[in-house]
Symmetry: C2
Subunit: 678 residues, 2 copies
């Protein structure tokens, strides 16, 4: 550390803490590589890609025993200057490939210079995504053909990959073989290649080639839902979502829900081919949209990862879903699928690969596998319940010790279907509602406005959309509030007696109804609506309870609500209705579009593919249809919140009304009531 | 060995000699398997396929210490009887899966019951082909779906393969996934699957499925020549060629020889696509022809193996061959290619794979790799010269220690092109010829007749075809005979002075010509014809000599002449002309269509693919165009048989004429000659 000139210098990399002595004059990137420090590079040290940027620590680093200063690095070179002029370097940043070590130095590798950086997710409790893309770009200089040492162009490309990047055992498809000679000569023997490494196999596939230096590598994470298809275009180097888009699933013209689409195939042999074509076409539309939005070429999309329920999964792959329409609900394949995008008619890069996550069971699909990847119950110390509510609810329960999954036939009530004034979540739909327990007057909010209906300016605020109906989260709240206000009892029966107290309760056919809004449209909750929600929530609870039985637990420690419905409902109301078992309310969280997030994780991290394939094999699949206890659980769960289970945690936050007995109406529809023995 | 009833018995299998003791009642097939005895089976012991037949040895086997008798096997069972009634069992044959061990037994496994049997080739000196097909059929019984243990159909198929056949790590393509459920239900959970195991990788690909038991597995070995395409349909179980067919290469309409086809592409951008389509269409025609001939369905063709020269190789794969048309003659790829047949537009089984042998260098293609596989110089103790003569000659020289290869530009003279009366080998072409050294009268034989032209009945015998020209082998013979008769001297000059001796030697322009046949067509050998053959043979010899230099040898130990030309020429005449270096004549043999045989070997033996890929990497590639010595060797090889090399072995069999000096004609074309200093 004196000013004598030593032969070598100590270098310490942060944040890894890796350290070593290197001869004076060693390029920093080379020192990093020999220490196994994670620094990105596409160009391989040619000052082209700018991925290998570092900063020097200034001052005494007692912890490392080093005085580090900018003077301990070689001066800003002409090559770095050129890069800076062309593409810009932040102050203090150096290209580690061009910077030589002149003395002891503490070198910081900023996250954006790391290949295996972490991509932080929006939700505080969510695991960050470790970048480890299956597809990487490599800039290589290929030897020119030499008649004195005859060898083929492809062999020299493979040799360059092995020598310059240590990437061996490479193969490629015909398209690459067909284009290689032109690209090599166009790039004057300097080309960039994309290499796709299949998880869990040592093999590497060269999927794309470009003349010269190429720096664009993107992937598409797609969640194929029965109703909507969502696609996120992600950078395979930063992990960022650079564009997103969604489309209605065009298969809706063949049937609104999954079972009607399966029926379409049964009734129209070959109909699965139309639906397969429709879904693939939609994916191509989405890919084109996000590519345009991000100003990239579609050929820069080098991978796609898909999740979807079993029927969507089969239809996307071109498999007839008929077997999924009836017992024993056998999947053709539940294994993860890795196939060329071309084979699936996707117009991405001609060499792109598609990865489809594994399915768990006949009713628990690759979307649930995505949810698992996103929420990671396999790492959980305590027992986690994950519920993804749609037409079916998929339920996963367990911890790192054991995981179980099932699906439960909730029907479409939670999505607003089969509810008199139900509708999809869209502007104008009631999404929040409170009922005054004394006056029984409601106040509510609709999608598109922050105002409550009893606040000034509400009518003006909603004038453009109107108040059109009630969406899923609104239905949960209104029925929970009706229960808390005593309008319905623990059995879900609307108390006609309350009609005396408020005009909002009024007879409707042989039952009573609760009027949320007079006028046009007239919005009310009927006895049938309550029944529909009870059936749905009982199915959901019964499925959960069945898994709890199998696991031998009476309480769950944490709950995640996945999917659009799970994102919008107020968990307290969900628990009041008994959709989910009792649990401390602060341990219940929405997981957002966890299936889509799972697709993104699998896109950005090849090891996550191995992981989810492994986890899915481990998950114990329970088929509710053949479990005798399911029916009993279902019946008990019809009550609000539940016939027998006590919601201890919820009781701390919510005052439950006293149970009451309501005598149903006489058959003549009159309001006359008589007491029965309770 | 007494008649007490022991608990177990000794079983000895022949020819392997494997032996072991097994409990009384053990099925013979099971005993064989546990000893690792090679017995075939497709049905897995269900008495369906009949592949596991054995015979019992009768009598005392002192060598094995066993008294073996038919009574030591269980009686002919009802199941065997049923098989015998349906498909027939030869006398003494038993189905080893149905036959139980009751006492000591010597069991013979006949070759046709062995998976790894040897297929004997016609040529006595040729290595037998060891059967080890990449594609095998497996009959499996798949568990039905069970809602109590949900799993996908494909997973249960994989499990059956692992449990019933010990075949693991299986994957499959989309077509299989799409058809699987139907096939499983059609076969009532019993199906036959074809599994393709890629050589040198542990992976297994399920390429085809059939409901129930299926016993047909065939492969296509194809030699794509510039002129003709030959295909052999082989059984993947017996190795037999069950049908063969050939076609003219339809690319001929784009250019007669390779270089004119490359020029076509250069002058017509995109022209390679037409030629690719033409060749693939021809292969489909051939596949259909052989399938019809063998009465099988095209979907029973589960694999194809191709060889061809580099231009054919590239065009078949859809690669623009332009780079092969000029220095540095870079191949796009020289590596072996394994791709789905579908991707190459071949209409075989939809899951079939195509294997294309590796190319050696820009002028030494997959056809030469096939020749190497067939002739196996890599196992040779002594130095072997292999020559495949076409428009280019490909030359391979060496032994197990070291192998070299080059190509030499012989031009098409050996094929009868550029020769005044030359023609392809076809009925009517002169293929054999002798010249009386005294009278200079020729006698000859033409293709289509066994008679010599001086034998009675010759004219009648050839009346239908006529005598139409001279084919390649005839040209070699006539020029060699002209040399032996003194009509040409060691420099190839036609001796005009002999015109005094015979009217068959007569002036032609400024030189002399030798008349083989008067009349129509008039058949003669001109001075230019002799020159063309000298140029071709000098190129061939110079290439060989160059490899001998590199290897540091003065003599080769053995010579194989491959290809159609090599099959038809008389090796003695080839040596008299100096096409090949001196060598004991009995060590010179024709190898027939060795390239096609190589394709067949690779088709029947997956390990042969690994082997040839390995050998090709080892071969030292010599580019004659950049070797300064090549030109010198070429000039010296213009003389007959050679300017400097002495043909010691040939001299034992043939009396060479004395060298003589011939004064070329004066420019006025007169016969007047004057002596020059010699």
């Amino acid at each position: 550390m004196a000013d004598t000139t030593p032969d070598d210098a100590l270098i310490v990399f942060t944040p890894s803490g890796k350290r070593g002595r290197f001869p004076i004059g060693t390029p920093v990137l080379q020192a990093a590589r020999s220490l196994g420090v994670d620094i990105d590079s596409v160009c391989g040290g040619r000052a082209i890609c700018g991925r290998c940027q570092i900063t020097i620590g200034e001052g005494e680093f007692a912890k490392h025993g080093i005085r580090s200063t900018a003077a301990h690095l070689s001066e800003f070179s002409a090559v770095e200057k050129r890069y800076d002029d062309k593409r810009g370097l932040l102050a203090g940043r150096r290209l580690s490939c061009q910077t030589k070590l002149l003395g002891d130095a503490v070198i910081d590798v900023p996250p954006e210079s790391q290949v295996h950086k972490q991509v932080v997710r929006k939700r505080a409790e969510a695991r960050a995504i470790d970048m480890n893309p299956a597809t990487r770009l490599y800039f290589i200089e290929v030897e020119e053909p030499d008649m004195h040492k005859p060898s083929s162009d492809l062999e020299r490309v493979y040799r360059a990959l092995a020598e310059q990047w240590n990437v061996a055992d490479v193969s490629c498809n015909l398209t690459i073989m067909q284009n290689l000679q032109k690209v090599l000569r166009q790039g004057e023997w300097k080309i960039t290649v994309a290499v796709f490494s299949r998880p869990a196999s040592g093999s590497n596939i060269m999927t794309a080639i470009w003349p010269g230096f190429h720096d664009k590598a993107f992937g598409l994470a797609v969640d194929v839902g029965s109703t909507t298809i969502a696609a996120h275009l992600c950078s395979l180097s930063t992990g960022d979502v650079v564009a997103s888009s969604g489309l209605m699933n065009p298969q809706i013209r063949f049937g609104e829900d999954l079972m009607s689409r399966v029926s379409y195939v049964m009734m129209n042999p070959g109909g699965e081919k139309e639906m397969t074509a429709a879904i693939r076409e939609a994916l191509n539309t989405l890919a084109a949209q996000v590519a345009t939005e991000a100003s990239i070429d579609k050929t820069d999309i080098l991978e796609a990862v898909l999740v979807g329920n079993p029927v969507m999964h089969h239809l996307f792959l071109g498999i007839d879903p008929t077997e999924l329409g009836g017992a024993p609900f056998a999947l053709a394949t539940g294994l993860a699928v890795t196939r060329p995008a071309k084979e699936l008619d996707l117009q991405l890069n001609p060499g792109a690969y598609v990865y489809v996550l594994p399915c768990i069971a006949g009713h628990v699909g690759a979307d649930t596998a995505g949810v698992v990847l996103s929420e990671s119950p396999q790492y959980s110390e305590d027992n986690m319940l994950i519920v993804d509510v749609g037409t079916n609810a998929e339920i996963v329960l367990g911890s790192k010790n054991r995981l179980l999954a099932c699906s439960s036939p909730t029907g479409p009530a939670f999505e607003g279907a089969q509810i008199t004034c139900g509708q999809r979540a869209a502007p104008g739909a009631i999404e929040r509602i409170r009922i005054d327990p004394v006056t029984l007057e409601p106040r509510y909010r609709v999608i598109g406005s922050e105002l409550w209906s009893d606040e000034p300016g509400f009518e003006e605020a909603v004038a453009s959309t109107g108040v059109t109906g009630i969406c899923g989260s609104g239905i949960i709240e209104v029925i929970a509030e009706m229960y808390l206000a005593g309008i319905i009892n623990q059995d879900g029966l609307v108390d006609g007696g309350m009609a005396e107290k408020s005009p909002r309760i009024r007879p409707h056919k042989r039952t009573f109804t609760y009027v949320v809004r007079e006028g046009e449209p007239f919005i009310s909750i009927t006895q049938n609506d309550v029944r529909a929600i009870q059936l749905a929530k009982a199915a959901l609870y019964a499925g959960t309870r069945l898994l709890m039985d199998k696991l031998g637990i009476e309480h769950v420690d944490r709950i995640r609500l996945a999917g659009a419905f799970g994102s919008h409902i107020d968990v307290k109301f969900a628990m009041i209705l008994g959709l989910i078992p009792d649990c401390p309310l602060d341990k219940v969280q929405s997981a957002g579009n966890a299936a889509g997030t799972g697709a993104r994780i699998a896109l950005l991290n090849a090891k996550a593919r191995d992981e989810i394939e492994h986890v899915v094999r481990r998950i114990e699949k329970i088929e509710t249809a053949v479990e005798p206890l399911f029916q009993q659980h279902f019946v008990e769960a019809m009550a609000i919140p539940h016939k027998t289970a006590f919601f201890a945690n919820l009781a701390k936050e919510v005052k439950f009304p006293e149970p009451k007995t309501i005598i149903p109406l006489e058959s003549d529809g009159s309001e006359r009531r008589k007491r029965r023995r309770s």
